[in-house]
Symmetry: C2
Subunit: 453 residues, 2 copies
């Protein structure tokens, strides 16, 4: 089939194309393919002509488009990685890093073999969610330093799905996401819960029902939302899809080492990928199953920057498993529900923002966003929650007041302290393409004023 | 080394990890690794313990960080693809698409094998620029529908470089780009010329000299800039790096089929990757070497959506080659310098925006941006160019007036018609993370007013 070209000595020249992906010219070699690049152009043109015939024959054979169009054929149409790097710099395939804006950011260096192992692990967990070869996976999260999107992509590729790396974060992109989801009808979606809810709002404003996207599976990381029952229910109702939570930390990529399966009931600790221990945040001693603590992670498959007993600072509780899917891993029934340093204390009660998220998101008339404001007057802490009411009650002052009263009562029950609820109109607060930030602690301001005076 | 785990029947469990990347469970199989996922947890813990020892030994052996830290070890730390798809949908590895906001966008479906071929081709052209295994390649372009960033990444991976897929387009990202470039000192940069100039401006505002990034190679696509001599010179001066232009069209990915080499002198048509013909825009007949026309492309390595004689609508002129690097491909000495439909006519003269870009960018006191305004008064076309002057002349009215006069004279010479130049202060115009849009044609408005009345 490719005899004439072989006779010309053209390297790896055949149809359909096939390459030795391991091959590299030596560094002092100026040409990738010396023969193909420096040969007599007339000879090459002859080979190219034959190739064009092969391509045309191939296209004609397989594509109705070309059978219709034939002819005319013209168409419109040390530094820098730190000393915990365990491989040579030349083995580093990918650079990512923390996305903080203050201080020197941390760089993650991932070797070629590690990247393959990461893909293997992510694919494996996605398989557990029911993602299958041939599915289309829409990735609606920013591709930059953030590891979430890249890890989902690596898994989607290894799983032989069709990856649709759409991204997020660019002006105007959410409306385009709605159009593409409606046009391509992917099988699975990955992003943050906040962004899924934003897409759903924008779709509805555009007159599109997100259920018409036909999504079967939606998997999330980056923030606790997908393990907060009321938030999960919101997403399930909006899209009519099955929701999965997953994710540990960027440093621990393959971050899907915590990952929910079709058995649901919580995220599993996939212990043969990364070993997870839940420990007491103060003593760092192992917490028995049934207890609450912070996860500590150990890489089992990383050769470039293996993390050994990395203390996460996140908060979870764990059970022994097995899960309903039959896997015998430990289970985090409520997922990761906060960070230790997210916790604030109001009049002696420990409060996690996710507890407030859960309460307000479960209210029928909830409008989709809220803000938590902690202040201090006369040395007394005060907690206020500004909650958007939904369009259904907009204009009905009695219903709005009832919404506020219901929210206050529910918060008092769950938190153990009074929270003043201020109902505000729908779309009062900015939506995010990434992770929600809802807590405003005005006591810090108060403290700094005290310090100054 | 891995005997105990093998005895436990744990699939592909060894250290360092190695996987059969071709393996897939059958679709009805609920587990990726049935044994590892459903085995007795105690047995698995034993295997995991041994693995942890291997990992710890490995890390201890290789990483000073761990030798220092040891112990305690805890740390902080059809639709949809159209009928020109030539493979089954299950073979599609990647979905991308046009980024237009009006009308139904076009989806690109790229097969697994094609993606590998694309990577091979892009790597090969990057090799021709002097990129080598072990180099770090910073990709400063948005990762979304736009193919440029993805193609650069695929090539960087195949070439066994360290890929740093930083992205662009998100608020606040340019300042972070400056910090990361200064911190990681990559060897090569990919993006649009407009964005490289923007990064350089932001760096200078932050007190950082872009020359300190230590970039050796900068390669560009997405707009004509890198082939406009004055723009190229601006970039070279700002960064002290060697500049390369490349790129045809997203549809033609591997879009580096037009790509400059270390021989410079223009972009080469890498004819054994994609076959390029330059044709007359009207008759579509081949233009002889030395002539001007529009490129027509034919894929030689695509099995999923091969394009056969795709008319680009771009504008170029070509020569026979060989180039100074010894490759015997045709050469586009001035690159792609516009699109046919970018051309506008003012008082009978055909004008391409890139000609104006070239003139103003070559002025010593140019401030970095400009806008081209075409208007009509009394049925007479008028051309005005608002040009930023640089900080060096700011406040010096005489120098600013001289700058305007020089610009007017240079434009008149090159364009053959008078253009009124309006000098404006530095940073008057918005910068872009993507492609520059500088032409404002007010005659359209005039026309529509005429239509209405």
């Amino acid at each position: 089939m490719t005899k004439p070209q072989v006779a010309l000595g053209m390297e790896q020249w055949c149809w359909p194309p096939a390459f030795d992906e391991g091959r590299l010219p030596s560094p002092d070699q100026p040409y990738w393919f010396p023969r193909r690049e420096t040969m007599d152009p007339q000879q090459r043109n002859e080979a190219v002509l034959q190739r064009i015939r092969e391509v045309m024959g191939y296209a004609y054979e397989r594509a109705p488009f070309y059978r219709d169009k034939w002819m005319p054929a013209s168409q419109e149409a040390c530094p820098p990685f730190g000393d915990y790097l365990c491989v040579g710099p030349e083995e580093v395939a990918r650079l990512h890093g923390t996305s903080g804006t203050t201080g020197r950011p941390t760089a993650f260096a991932i070797s070629r073999q590690d990247w393959r192992s990461i893909a293997e692990a992510q694919a494996r967990v996605m398989w557990g969610m029911g993602v299958r070869p041939g599915d289309t996976v829409f990735i609606g999260a920013v591709f930059s330093l953030y590891m979430g999107s890249w890890g989902a992509l690596a898994g989607a590729e290894r799983l032989c799905t069709t990856a649709f790396p759409f991204g997020a974060g660019v002006a105007g992109q959410t409306a385009r996401a709605v159009n593409w989801l409606a046009q391509m009808r992917p099988d699975a979606f990955y992003g943050t819960p906040s962004y899924a809810l934003r897409i759903s709002e924008v779709a509805q404003e555009m007159g599109t029902d997100p259920r018409d996207f036909g999504l079967r599976i939606m998997f999330f990381s980056g923030e606790p939302g997908a393990s907060i029952p009321a938030v999960r229910r919101q997403i399930e109702l909006a899209y009519g899809a099955e929701v999965f939570d997953c994710g540990s930390m960027a440093e621990m990529t393959p971050w899907m080492n915590l990952g929910e399966t079709s058995g649901h009931g919580g995220m599993l600790c996939w212990q043969d990928i990364i070993y997870t221990e839940v420990v007491d945040p103060t003593t760092h001693r192992l917490v028995p199953f049934g207890g609450e603590g912070t996860p500590v992670y150990t890489h089992l498959e990383r050769t470039s920057q293996p993390m050994i007993r990395l203390l996460s600072g996140d908060l979870t509780s764990w059970e022994s498993g097995p899960s309903a899917c039959g896997r015998t891993y430990p289970v985090l029934p409520r997922g990761i529900y906060g960070r230790i340093d997210d916790m604030f204390i109001v009049r002696g009660e420990n409060i996690y923002p996710s507890a407030i998220d859960e309460v307000v998101a479960s209210l029928a008339a909830y409008g989709g966003e809220h803000r938590i404001i902690i202040s201090r007057t006369d040395a007394m802490d005060a907690l206020a929650v500004q909650v958007e009411y939904g369009r259904a009650v907009a204009g009905d002052e009695q219903a709005i007041a009832a919404f506020g009263a219901t929210a206050e009562k529910a918060l008092q029950t769950v938190l153990g302290v009074r929270a003043k609820v201020v109902p505000v109109p729908p779309r009062t607060f900015e939506r995010t393409d990434f992770k929600a930030r809802r807590v405003i602690d005005e006591r810090d301001l108060f403290r700094s004023l005290v310090d100054v005076t």
